[in-house]
Structures are given as C-alpha cells and as structure tokens.
Symmetry: C2
Subunit: 432 residues, 2 copies
C-alpha cells in the first residue's frame, strides 16, 4: 500500500472513529495494554535485532539509548495507557450553547481533528504513546518511525492494530485507524498529503522538526528550538535566583525547557554573578559571558551566536542588561518563545514581564523545567508547541480535538429573519 | 519600506499592542469612527478615482459594486465599530487555573496572536472591518488590498493610522500596529514571511483563497469552497424540507453557505421531487439531476463534476440516495466541510448525521444560510473557516487570540519534586 493509500484509509476510518463511545475507546486501550504485556518477548526480540543492527552500523551511544525498548520502557508505556484510560474523553464536550430563536439551538461541540500524521525519530516508545493519545481523542493516525527502529516499530504497530481492531464482541476499532509507513521517501510524501492529513506531530531533534515545519502546508504541532531565559531583576532574592538558575540549567540539560541564557540586571550583577558562577561550576556548567559579565567574573567570551544557541549541554550564556526593557527585548528577539522566567520581588514587574514576553510559558520565581504537560496536570502530553494558533505550550489531549457547530432547528429559514424582520434571541443555554 | 520591513515593524508593535487595556483599545476604535466620519468626503473622492479607473479599465459590473465605498458602506463600517466597542475584550481571560503546589499557581490566559496578515480583493470596506477586529483583539495587522481599490484603501489606511496612533493624552496605539502593502509582488513576499506573520486571513474569491492556502507555510483562517448539502431523509416533513431547500438555495445565491447539492432518500423521492422542483423553478432555479432523479422529474442531467461544483448561482444538483449512509458518504466525499443539513423527523438519525458528517456546521431541520457569525450571536465575524485546527466555522474575535501559560511561584525548583519525591497537588483554582 502506498502512503497515499494509507492516508486515504486513515481518512475513511476517521469518520467512524469520531462516533465511538468513551467505553469503546477505553476498552481498546486496555486490550492494547494487555497484548503488549502478553507479547512482550516478541517486542524485546525485535528490539534486539534493531540494537544489533545499530551496533553494526556504529550508531552513537545516546541514540542507541533512545532506541532501546526494555521492560522499563514497557512498564512506562503501560502506565501511560492506564493514565489515558482514566482521563476524561476530550470529545463530545459542549463548549458553548446558545438559543438563536425559540426552537433553534446552537451547540459548539468538541470532536476529533481527523487524521494525525506522526513522524518520529529513533524512540519506539513514542509509537505507543502517540498512537494511544490519538485513539483516546478519536483520531486516526499515520505513523512514520525512524529506520533504526524498524523491527521494534513494526511489531509494536502490529500488536496495537491487532489488539484494537479484532474483538470478539464486535466493539473493535475501525480497520485503518492506525497505519505505519516505513521508508524514508514516505516522509516527503506524507508532508504533501494536506488533503488527507489534518495535523502533523513531529518528535525528534530540532533540525528534524525544523525540516518538517519548513516543508509542509499541513499544520504542525511542535517546537524546534527551546532557547529559554532566566532574567534576574534588580530586586530579586538572590539565593532564590541562584537556586532557580541552577535547577533550570542542570536538572536535566538535554531537554527543551532547560535554561540556555541568563540575563542579570546591572544592579544585581556584583553580588549575584560570583555566587551563581560558583554554584553552576560545582555542577560542571561552563559559562560564556558578555563583556560586562566578564568584568565581574572570569568566564569565556560569548559571541552573537551564543544568544541564539540551544546548547542542550552544560553551557550557559550570561548577559548583563541595563534594565527590565532590555531583558524583555533580548528575550523576544533572541528566544524561541518557549519558556522564560523572571526572578523578582515585585508582583507588578512580574505581571509586566508575563504580558510583554511573547512566549508560550512565562514564569515568575520558579524553574523553567516546570513547563511540561504532566507537571501542569494535563494528565498526558501530546507535545510542546511554540505555535501561535490552536495550542501553545505543553499540549494535552485537548490539542488533538477541534469542534463543530451543531444547529438544531424546527423548520427555520433565513428569509423569515431578513424579510419579515424577525429577530434572534441569542440567549445562553445552560449546559453544565 | 519593503513588506519585510513593514512586517518587522508590525512584529515589534505587536509586543506593545498586547499590553493595552480594553479602555485604550475602545478609545482608539471610537477615534477611528470619528475620523472616518469627519473625513468622509476625502474617502468618497478617493473612491471616485478608483471607480473612474475601473470604468476606464472595463472592470465587470459586480466587481465595481464591491469596489464602491459610499455613505451606506461608511454607515455600516461605523456600526461595525460600535458593535466591536461593546464586545467583551477577548484577551486577558483566564481559561484555566490550577494550583500545582502550595504557592505555585498556573494560569492559562488568553492573549493576542501577534501579527495578522490580511489579503483582500476589491472591497475596501474589508480594510476597515478587519483592521478594527485586529485592534480589538490586540493584534497588529499587515494589509494588502486589491489594486482596483488602491486610492480608497490608501485613504482609509491613513485615516485609521492617524486616528489611532496620534493622541494628545498619550493613549494612542503603538506606531506600526497597522501597515499597508500596495504592490502585487507584495502578496507573494507576504506569503513567505512566516517568521513575522502569525496568521493569514484572506478575503476574496475561491480561487484567490485557494491560491493563498496552497502557497504559504503560514496558517490560514478561511475557506475556499462552500459546497453545502441538504439531505432529505425518508421520514422528513416534506413541506418543511421544501421550505428549507428553497431558502438554502435562493435566499442569497452568491455566498458560501448557499445550498449546492440536494440529496433525497429514495423513499421520499416520489412525493418530494415534483413539489420541490416547482417551488425552486418559481424562484428561477435550474436543476441538474442524477439518472434516478430524472426518472421522476424532467431536469438536465448532472455529471460527476456537478457534485463538486460551487455554483454560486441559481443552479442546484439533485441526487437520489439509497439510504442515510450513502448520503453521509456523498457529503464527506464531495463536500467542502462547510455547512450541511439533514431534514428528518428523527432526533437519533439527526444526531447520527451531525456526528458522522465531517463539516464545520452540521444542521438539523433549518436552512444552511444560518451559518454566519452574526446569526450565531458571536457579535462579529472574522471569517468562516473550514480548517480542522484552531477555529472552525464562523469565527468571532476568539479566533484572533491564543493563550499563554503563566506560572507564579515562590522559589520552587524541579529537583525538589524529582529527588525528594515531593508531589504536585494539581488542585483547581476558582477563577470565576
């Protein structure tokens, strides 16, 4: 089957998927969990093959780590499914309700988006996670995994498809709700399927996501860079500031919400920089500073490129700013609109920062590492988006739904309102 | 100034626009209304020039009608501004609020999207309408109007800019919040400005909107075709069905929510088709029917192309379907996912229809012509979208906003939750 045919199959199945009950979807999720556990040895064997091939091809160690699908990954995937089952169904919710006239009632009702295209790099656990998120939200899915994980992806796909579509009591999901593409050329073709794929969710490196975003007309839910800033205002509690900077930078360096640039108000520099330098260096962080920074502490010189670099490493760039406005302007100009924090004792300065900084996540006196769907209490995370439409920041199941307008009448026609001047009532309908 | 420079200017201004109070925005709107009225003769004179040039260039009559900006258009533009002033500010609303832990509170707050690119064909009144919608929602705007309306667009732009940015008590809008591009090559360049333009709103013909959608990576709010269907189920009240079909088709033929295809259940054909044919023909509608239709009533033969044609004219294609499923399948295959209606006496059949038809507006027993922002009671209409993300169907001011996540802490770091096992409370915060 070509990828276009798979996409058409997914589109056809999406119309049936949209009519499933919450119970049907939850039962399918539990059958998937059961099957993955029952057949775990087949998964581990397939993964061994991928790992052996990776070793043969001298794949770098961090990539091999992401490729691995062992008992721990299985347990975590199954815990994710359990959490999804417990989550409220995001479809079929009445978002607004209004009487337009007597016997003419308008309902805005949430529903699945349709076909989600998922393109991911090496991690096969992403296949389980994203396909079950699509299932719970009533979407169908067209998956394309990394070639390094070919065997693991194939067995996971087959097990999920089998468990979810076959069912003795006829409550299985529609055939074609899940589809797997395997060749590299499929990616390029998938990016051009705007008539069949409604939303793309890429999972992988910055370059990978950037490539997807730049080469498709299909909307993309994701982010390329995560160049996050902490700004230490002149009135900041400097102990708190140091703790937040150290956590934001070092708690987990290889992630999008880790800190990359520290901005310090000129009046806080003298007492703050030596302290934070010591604490960061204790954690192995190398600093790169602007000229003014280097007049207070001994660090390597930062160049213009540093302000726009996502290190994902134990490196932090440091800049002294003259005032609040310079800090905000630096963040809006050089940042990636992901997560930025101010450390200040003033609520009004913080509010100003959170209004003026054009980022998905704007924080006051806490670590940038909190920007995460689970920490936000969304129950699940589809991804983090730096888009300015649809969904922004950590995206839960809500990001995989849209709505339709249902108008329930009793024979009304528009001519009655235009010709005879009948008017609309526009009364809210209680729909709690 | 190049269009890229104008876009950069709009981007810079957008950060200030986002901080304006509702009062500042409403005052600017009222100043714009005042100035348009004061300077109306300058507007009418500019419009005369455009009309004269159009006549000289043998522009077709319907286009000249859209080009006209007279007293009635001005009154209607000013009424639109008054309505906007009364509307609730869509920004700064708390969409959700959650305590993550004691002293660590998360707020999801609505905010402007940023820079809206508006590309419109001949109607200069669109310039006033869309720029004031952007203003009220705190967005900045990059406008490109049709060349036929060059003079009118220019004077309207200048008046709006002057009235909104100049202000003796310093409460004017930021310079650069509104920008006008004038040359045809600007359109192409605008479509490539994805780093500066956050959303495109095209206003014009199907071909025009389709061109925009196919040639940009920027999200587009709009619709190309409006191929709307009415399906008359076997149990329909046939008098009601005929009234709804006649209204949907003829109340205003040149619009996207007018009916283009009528589907009739085979059991209703015999009594319904002759009646509806007569009523439609009384209104001047020419019918085109499938083979089965033509065995009941004498009409021109429809071909495959008819099912995918938006006539925007007094023409209606008619098809007999074997059952409910065939009707739904026809609509999902040949429609444009805009507005579709079922006429049936059964609530459960109607609910099934509204769930299975994948359209922005799904109706039961009323005219397709109701799908409209004002009729829906949205207070304003930015446009009608057939997109599957962000905003769907008639879009009010809500479609011009997104949200950001504000996290207000008191020194919290992630290590405390990971290393010492401190857990999140995830309690809802009452924010009514």
């Amino acid at each position: 089957m070509t990828i276009q045919e798979k996409a058409e199959r997914a589109k056809a199945a999406s119309l049936q998927m949209a009519t499933l009950s919450t119970r049907q979807k939850n039962e399918a999720l539990l059958r998937i969990k059961h099957t993955l556990n029952e057949e775990k040895n087949a998964v581990f064997e397939a993964n061994e093959k991928d790992l052996a091939a990776a070793e043969k091809n001298h794949v770098p160690a961090p990539l091999v780590g992401r490729l691995e699908f062992d008992g721990a990954k299985l347990t975590s995937a199954c815990e994710g499914i359990d959490a999804l089952v417990k989550l409220e169904d995001p479809t079929g919710k009445i978002l607004s309700a209004r009487e337009l006239d007597s016997g003419l009632n308008l309902y805005q009702v949430s529903c699945p988006i349709g076909v989600i295209g998922v393109i991911f790099e090496s991690r096969p656990d992403a296949l389980v996670q994203i396909s079950t998120l699509c299932l719970k939200s009533g979407n169908t899915v067209l998956l394309k995994g990394g070639t390094e994980a070919l065997e693991t992806n194939r067995i996971l796909f087959e097990l999920i498809e089998k468990a979810s579509t076959e069912d003795s009591d006829e409550s299985g999901l529609p055939d074609g709700w899940i589809n797997l593409a395997e060749t590299r050329s499929d990616v390029k073709e998938m990016l051009s399927l705007e008539r069949h794929v409604d939303l793309l969710v890429p999972r992988g490196s910055n370059e990978f996501v950037r490539y997807i975003m730049d080469n498709t007309n299909i909307p993309v839910l994701g982010h390329a860079d995560g160049i996050c800033h902490a700004y230490v205002h002149e009135d900041a509690d400097l102990d708190m500031a140091a703790r937040i900077v150290v956590d934001s930078k070092t708690q987990y360096v290889a992630v999008c919400n880790a800190l990359e640039t520290l901005l310090v108000h000129k009046n806080a520099v003298e007492s703050f920089l030596p302290v934070v330098k010591q604490k960061l260096e204790e954690k192995g962080v190398r600093l790169r500073g602007c000229e003014k920074t280097r007049s207070y502490i001994e660090v390597q010189a930062a160049n213009d490129k540093d302000w726009e670099t996502e290190y994902l490493d134990l490196i932090l760039s440091v800049k002294v700013v003259a005032d609040f406005e310079e800090a905000v302007s630096h963040i809006n100009t050089h940042g990636s609109h992901h997560t930025d924090v101010i450390i200040t004792g003033s609520g009004s300065v913080a509010r100003d920062f959170m209004m003026k900084v054009d980022s998905a996540n704007v924080f006051w006196n806490c670590s940038t590492r909190f920007s995460d769907g689970f920490r936000y209490g969304l129950g699940a995370e589809v991804g983090i988006s730096t888009s300015k439409i649809h969904a922004r920041g950590p995206v839960g199941l809500d990001g995989l739904v849209i709505y339709k307008w249902q108008l329930l009448g009793s024979g009304q026609i528009v001519a009655d309102y235009v010709d005879t001047g009948r008017s609309f009532t526009h009364k809210p309908i209680n729909h709690a």
